[in-house]
């Protein structure tokens, strides 16, 4: 038993797959991803829209899942960190984060990855200032951001090379 209001039944499209599930109308997308779908790669550092850790992609745009109701995502396409690697092959941004040590504790990483992938999808040759701008809503307490900036630039170079080549 609990005092919570009754749940709604809906279908969410997450990482390219439909999932039909019941959730509270007030549940955030963050809560539904983590608690109902058990996609715990999406993190939270504040649940107030202040840290960027919970960033996911909804219909191609980065959103803070802690400030988004799951109900708002019905009928839209949601991408989380779990969907970045394809068949076990890391996305170039993931690979660059791994190789350069841009993830230390790794807690901010999923949010940064989503924002970086989104940036590179629009702009494969971002300047350092453009990278910093795109990531300005994300806090990282471990890295000093240095290797994060380097990793995004490296991933961009590699993605360009693979298109050119």
């Amino acid at each position: 038993m609990s005092i919570a209001p009754s749940k709604i039944l809906a279908t969410l499209r997450v990482n390219g797959r439909d999932a039909t599930l019941a959730f509270h109308p007030h549940a955030t997308l963050l809560e539904v991803l983590r608690e109902e779908l058990r996609l715990t790669g999406t993190k939270h550092g504040c649940e107030l829209g202040q840290c960027g850790a919970c960033t996911v992609i909804v219909d191609g745009t980065p959103v803070l899942s802690c400030l988004t109701l799951a109900a708002e995502a019905i009928g839209r396409s949601v991408e989380t960190v779990e969907g970045l690697a394809v068949d076990g092959t890391l996305h170039p941004v993931q690979r660059a984060f791994l190789e350069l040590g841009a993830a230390q504790c790794g807690y901010c990483t999923p949010g940064f990855l989503n924002a970086a992938v989104h940036l590179l999808e629009k702009n494969l040759e971002p300047s350092e200032a453009e990278i910093r701008d795109a990531l300005a809503g994300h806090l990282c307490r471990c890295t000093g951001y240095t290797k994060i900036v380097e990793a995004v630039a490296l991933a961009g170079r590699r993605m360009r090379a693979s298109i050119d080549g």
């Binding site: 996609l39 990282c140 307490r141 240095t146």
Partner: protein, 784 residues
């Protein structure tokens, strides 16, 4: 020959910038942090926290809350009355406050329910009556004797005021030292408190099995201490408790001592027979705190004609918050490490920690050494200026020598301080710029030293500080078991690198099992930058234990003496004739056939001769010290007072860099965090309330505020470190704050005597309204 002189040829893992072994899990979202766990039938917990800074609890009535559907259990102070604390000398907390509350945010009750919302709703229905008491919110207020109407924060303390701890130490003849000085510099500084703000909010999950055995997963840097405290508070033998530290989403010292929610999770799981999770909200993390102490620092330094330090006296007053925490150690640390960087004729240290009605302060990266280091390096800059000396060259001239003793009897081994100083000077062209830049632009330099682990354990015992087991599987996989906790600093990878290096296997063939009190030998935890040195040495000796046995068997097969066996690239071979070889797997199997199960043990205990023999000599000694130097370049806007850091160059002597990329990451993260402390981070209070318990108002540098950071790895040969390594996780933070302060002084031609250097303070300094802090007679301190 390995760099550390061991008979180990051709290193292939140590020193290579490989990706960290736990990196895959972290870039794919697969790493399971404490709050990512969900167990069947799990309950959710909430702590009810005090709205008052200082109040007597008159009554608690939770009958109504308990009747809410979905509420399973509620507990208050009397349910868990045993006092605990991280230091044996400060057992002053209970899980839920008993009789009185001492800070806003102190837990008063706990509720577990079927879901979070229910627990939260029920919490609002608990009726708690308080009698509000006058609060003590500053160092000055705490030093005053408590009069008839007042009440001490800890009524059972022996003093008439709210002083928690006083320390007085003198080394050498201070009077003679000051008499010997041609100039004496007397300054007072204030370092504001701040917090760790690790991105992961603390979380704990407890599960009590039908056999009565309790498992507690917690985002802790110190699983061993949690084990001890949980056993005491729950009155359950430690053998019935298993603590597991999952990956921790940043710690910086904020997760180094047992706190209420962890113990509450354990208690409720036992009481209900169901798994229980407590995850703190960001606001609660600010109340849990244990962050950097606000410290007032008075420095009196005597300088001889040649610039050398004839005498130095440091007085510190620490605002400890409501409980002891690590505070006694912090107090000692505000005096212990200044002499580790520079030679001094005589040295005296007086420290005083007070209780106030704020969240308890504890250790943050640099633990207690950061605040006086800021003051001392600021004063040294003024001294160099007065003497007309280059700030870098002056520091190099008075730098401590490798393999020496400090004035407070600490043993110094390898020391790359001079190398670090010249590296940052050269990289930035410091001497050509300092004092010569256009108004509003400035460059500053500072240096520091830090521990590679505390030389003595927190609770006295003669056992090792770290233990490790290395086991070899028949398939060639190697597992290292060690009680460490990885909070992002890379301890998992460090262990794997050391074992791979010792056995000559691929680092990806090494699995690390850490932070699990059922499975792993004790490591005291991720604090005082001890893990690489201590757990690394334990891991290395466990791996060498295995290697020796394999060498006996492989040597026999190859027809050579065991000492001639080399281990590299998955092979065991004759170092004089590398073609004569066995695969590591074959050698390991043959060894198992001959000697039985193939596992080795190792442990590390620091040497005994690190320090002098006096009360308080236990804080400060370390088997080795790391050294750092930093140059910061800033631009100050005279209109707004804003300081923009344009560049930070930070050199750090980490002994041998086991993984240079991870060392760089630690240096960069330290530069960033130090910059935040220098310019914006502060635990600010308005009346009794934390002014800014959220990540927007508690300002930390964003990616736009953070400049280019040049990390310079200085390698020295540390004979006692594992493969020559020292620490890199905390030390590099310390010089950053004074380097920025010195750069601001260079930019505006005036010194600001307090942190953080906010636009307000800059404008005040420019107006001339700030000036040096008022010097005053020390209160509540004996003069030595």
């Amino acid at each position: 020959m390995g760099k550390n002189g061991a008979s180990h040829s051709g290193s292939h893992v140590v020193g290579a910038p490989l990706p960290r072994i736990d990196g895959y899990a972290k870039v794919t979202g697969a790493a399971i942090f404490a709050d990512d766990m969900a167990l069947p039938r799990m309950l959710f917990g909430k702590l009810l926290r005090s709205p008052h800074a200082h109040a007597r609890i008159l009554s608690i009535d939770y009958a109504r809350a308990l009747r809410i559907p979905g509420v399973v259990a509620i507990a208050i102070g009397s349910d868990l009355p045993i006092r605990y604390g991280i230091l044996p000398s400060a057992q002053d907390e209970t899980v839920f406050a008993i009789d009185k509350v001492r800070y806003v945010g102190e837990p008063v009750a706990g509720i577990v329910a079927e879901d979070e919302l229910t627990a939260q709703t029920a919490a609002a229905l608990v009726d708690i009556r308080y009698e509000v008491l006058p609060s003590v919110m500053s160092i000055d207020a705490a030093l005053l004797d408590v009069d008839g109407n007042g009440e001490k924060i800890h009524p059972d303390s022996r003093r008439d005021n709210n002083v928690h701890k006083e320390v007085h130490l003198t080394f050498g003849d201070l009077d003679a030292g000051f008499a010997d000085a041609t100039r004496i510099f007397d300054d007072e500084y204030f370092f504001e408190g701040n917090t760790h703000a690790a991105l992961e909010e603390h979380s704990a999950v407890a599960s009590c099995g039908a056999d009565g055995k309790l498992t507690l997963w917690s985002s802790t840097q110190t699983p061993h201490y949690l084990h001890r405290v949980a056993s005491a508070v729950l009155e359950l033998p430690a053998s019935r408790i298993r603590i597991i530290a999952p990956p921790v989403g940043g710690g910086f010292g904020g997760k180094t001592e047992p706190v209420a929610h962890e113990l509450a999770a354990a208690y409720f799981s036992r009481k209900t027979g169901r798994p229980v999770k407590f995850t703190l909200s960001r606001e609660e993390v600010f109340y849990t705190h244990r962050g950097r102490h606000p410290v007032r620092i008075h420095l009196r330094t005597g300088i001889r004609a040649d610039g050398s330090i004839s005498a130095c006296r440091v007085q510190t007053w620490l605002d400890g918050g409501a409980y002891g925490s690590y505070g006694v150690a912090t107090t000692y640390y505000t005096g212990a490490l200044l002499p580790v960087t520079y030679k001094m004729g005589a040295y005296a240290f007086d420290g005083c920690r007070v209780y106030t009605n704020k969240p308890p302060c504890g250790p943050k990266r640099g633990h207690g050494t950061t605040q006086p280091r800021y003051a001392f390096e600021s004063q040294l800059d003024e001294i160099a200026k007065e003497l007309g000396l280059d700030a870098g060259a002056y520091r190099a001239a008075i730098a401590i020598d490798p393999y020496s003793r400090t004035v407070n009897h600490l043993r110094v081994t390898s020391c790359g301080l001079r190398e670090a100083l010249s590296a940052v000077s050269e990289r930035t062209g410091f001497s050509d710029k300092h004092g010569k830049l256009a108004p509003g632009r400035g460059i500053g330099l500072a240096a520091s030293a830090y521990l590679c682990g505390a030389g003595l354990p927190i609770y006295w015992n003669p056992m090792p500080h770290s233990g490790a087991i290395v086991k070899v599987d028949r398939g060639g996989g190697v597992t290292i078991f060690c009680g460490t906790s990885d909070c992002g600093q890379g301890s998992q990878n460090m262990l794997a690198v050391i074992v791979a290096e010792a056995l000559g296997v691929d680092v990806l063939d090494v699995s690390v099992c850490s932070g699990d009190t059922d499975l792993t030998p004790v490591d005291l935890g991720s604090y005082s930058s001890r893990v690489t040195f201590m757990a690394g040495n334990a891991a290395r000796s466990a791996a060498l234990d295995v290697r020796e046995r394999i060498a006996v068997v492989a040597g026999a097969e190859l027809g050579i003496a065991p000492e001639r066996c080399a281990f590299e690239n998955g092979r065991v071979f004759d170092r004089k004739n590398p073609d004569r070889a066995l695969s590591f797997i074959d050698a390991a199997r043959a060894t198992e056939a001959r000697f039985g199960t193939l596992a080795g043990v190792g442990s590390y205990t620091p040497p005994a001769d690190l320090h002098g023999d006096f009360k308080g000599s236990g804080v400060g000694p370390s088997p080795a010290y790391s050294y750092s130097a930093c140059v910061a370049e800033v631009e100050v806007d005279f209109e707004t007072g804003e300081v923009r850091v344009e560049r930070i160059v930070l050199a750090h002597d980490c002994g041998r860099a086991l993984n240079p990329r991870i060392v760089e990451g630690q240096i960069e993260g330290s530069a960033y965090m130090g910059m935040g402390e220098a310019l914006m981070e502060e635990s600010a209070f308005r009346n009794d309330l934390h002014r800014i318990p959220n990540l927007l108002d508690y300002k930390t540098p964003t990616i736009l505020d953070t400049p280019r950071i040049d990390a310079i790895v200085i390698e020295t040969k540390e004979l006692e470190g594992p493969y020559g390594a020292k620490e890199a996780g905390e030390g590099p933070l310390n010089p950053v704050i004074p380097a920025i302060a010195n750069a601001v002084a260079d930019a505006i031609g005036r010194r600001i005597y307090a942190t953080p250097i906010t636009p307000e303070r800059v404008l005040q300094a420019l107006d001339g309204t700030a000036g040096p802090l008022r010097l005053r007679a020390p209160i509540a301190m004996k003069t030595t």
